[in-house]
């Protein structure tokens, strides 16, 4: 853990060397998803509601998933750009050091400019929470925190999974975008707008529904059944991360250097 903090400090210093470009990118990152949110707002302005969901309820959905996604992009960037490490042969160096490979790859990059994007998600989330009449108590607050934290874990798991593929393919795969960009794009709407097969896939295979839609039902007081069942749903995110890490271990054992 201490080592990871040190990694972060070094990366932060190195990115701050290009100060102007850093701030421009951060501001730019703030506005990229802004157009998507503007689109969401305009659609609601026109149609009023979405299968019984109001604008602010959907905005809550949006805020949770985008906050989680941008945090994951910040932290797990090393896995996201892992194919470069394999191509350059830098992974050999990682293997000879006496620390776990996960930690080193995680610490190899950290995208501080994504903070802009994170801020945007946080602003939307705060706005939605402010406007929604939710009777807050400790359990609900804990659920919300758990949703975001476990959302980060799911995205991180996807990054790790596709980084592992690089052990075999060397090149990164564009198809990963379906699950990262596509996942956040999809989960920003309440999941009941989709067809059954989409919902099933994103509940039981990649559990986006468990960190977003299902616990939100409880937060908004739409759930029936015992609340504990909904509160503990986000933990599925942790369950998702485990096999990803296992596959990663398997990949590391399988690794053959490109020799460059």
């Amino acid at each position: 853990m201490k080592l990871y903090v040190k990694y972060l400090a070094i990366l932060f210093n190195s990115q701050m060397q290009y100060r102007m470009s850093f701030w421009l990118l951060t501001v730019g990152q703030f506005f990229v998803p802004f157009s998507v949110f503007a689109g969401l707002y305009l659609m609601f302005q026109r149609f009023g509601q979405l299968r019984g969901w109001s604008f602010f309820e959907t905005a809550l959905c949006y805020g949770v998933i985008h906050l989680a996604y941008s945090l994951a992009e910040c932290f797990a960037r090393g896995f996201d750009s892992f194919s470069g490490m394999i191509v350059r042969g830098d992974f050999d160096r990682v293997l000879v050091r006496p620390r776990s490979t996960e930690l080193q790859v995680l610490g190899s990059q950290f995208e501080f400019t994504r903070l802009g994007r994170m801020l945007q998600g946080a602003v939307v989330l705060a706005w939605a929470l402010y406007k929604l009449p939710i009777a807050w108590d400790a359990a609900k607050a804990a659920t919300l925190a758990l949703m975001i934290a476990c959302g980060v874990l799911i995205f991180a798991g996807i990054f790790i999974l596709f980084a592992t593929m690089c052990f075999w393919t060397v090149q990164g795969l564009e198809i990963a975008n379906i699950f990262t960009d596509g996942g956040s794009e999809m989960a920003q709407y309440p999941l009941n707008v989709y067809r059954k097969w989409v919902v099933v896939f994103f509940t039981f295979v990649i559990p986006f529904a468990c960190v977003n839609y299902l616990p939100l039902l409880y937060l908004l007081g739409r759930a029936d059944g015992p609340p504990v069942r909904y509160m503990l749903q986000p933990l599925a995110g942790m369950l998702f991360l485990l096999p990803c890490l296992l596959v990663w271990r398997l990949g590391v054992r399988h690794y053959r250097s490109t020799g460059s």
Partner: protein, 267 residues
């Protein structure tokens, strides 16, 4: 002219080499298209608010967007050109016996065209046979189809002339990330890629009318579904040509200004 055509052809063939990348792209675009349509279907259940833009036309709009994504996306850019400018290798480029502007223009067109040619046919083959309401419906008449093809092609030139300006801006900023990012995001929004232009409020549609972005994406897609009638479509193509003339003139002028003060460091 022959030189530019062969530049275009080379770029085209080079782009055709990346077949696996295209396959992954096809899967991604099918997924995104399906998700968008499901969301719109849910919105449309709300009743008559979308009556000026029937669902069937909207579905065609989404699929055409996905098929010709590389025709309309502004972030689709040539890093080679950026590198030429920032590293100073542009000196070699200047030695060539042809104009820089048409040379790069041909290059950019070739890139976009090859990538679209690889992707659009498989997507078309799939989306024509999807169950309703996800199926892409054929255009109402042959005239609409012909006008669609014409306006799409002319639209490609509009996008590339905007994109040329973005590339040229690097002569002044020397860093392609910040400035191009902002313009691309705004441009794509006004081209109707986030939500279709007909679903925007009236005042935003007015704004779109006065910007070039809509003419490259939104306009041909609505010609396809017959939303824009034949006569209007002909006027639209005239507007597209006017935009191209204006943008190319600005681009060539700024390139000339940039060339006058370009500094190539040795090394």
């Amino acid at each position: 002219m022959r030189a530019y055509l062969s530049v275009w052809r080379l770029r085209f063939l080079q782009g055709m080499q990346y077949r696996t990348a295209a396959l992954a792209g096809i899967a991604t675009q099918l997924f995104f298209g399906l998700v968008f349509i499901m969301v719109y279907v849910a919105f449309y259940e709300q009743g008559s608010s979308g009556s000026n833009f029937p669902l069937q036309d909207l579905v065609s709009y989404v699929w055409l967007q996905q098929m010709f994504l590389t025709f309309i996306m502004l972030w689709f850019r040539d890093n080679e050109i950026f590198e030429l400018i920032t590293t100073g290798n542009i000196a070699y480029e200047l030695c060539r016996p042809c104009g820089l502007y048409p040379f790069w223009f041909a290059k950019l067109i070739g890139q976009r065209l090859s990538s679209a040619a690889l992707r659009c046919w498989p997507i078309l083959a799939i989306v024509l046979f999807l169950p309703r309401p996800y199926r892409l419906s054929p255009p109402p008449s042959l005239a609409a189809l012909a006008l669609f093809a014409a306006s799409l092609l002319v639209g490609l030139f509009v996008v590339v002339s905007v994109s040329m300006l973005l590339h040229l801006s690097v002569f002044w900023t020397l860093s392609p990330t910040g400035s191009t990012l902002m313009v691309s995001v705004a441009g794509e929004f006004f081209a109707g890629t986030v939500i279709p232009v007909p679903l925007m409020p009236a005042w935003l549609q007015r704004v779109c009318d006065f910007l070039p972005f809509r003419w490259a994406a939104d306009f041909p897609f609505r010609v396809y579904s017959g939303q824009i009638s034949t006569g209007e479509a002909l006027w639209g193509i005239a507007a597209q040509l006017a935009w191209i003339a204006g943008l190319v003139a600005v681009g060539m002028l700024s390139l000339r200004r940039a060339m006058r003060r370009v500094v190539v460091q040795g090394g």
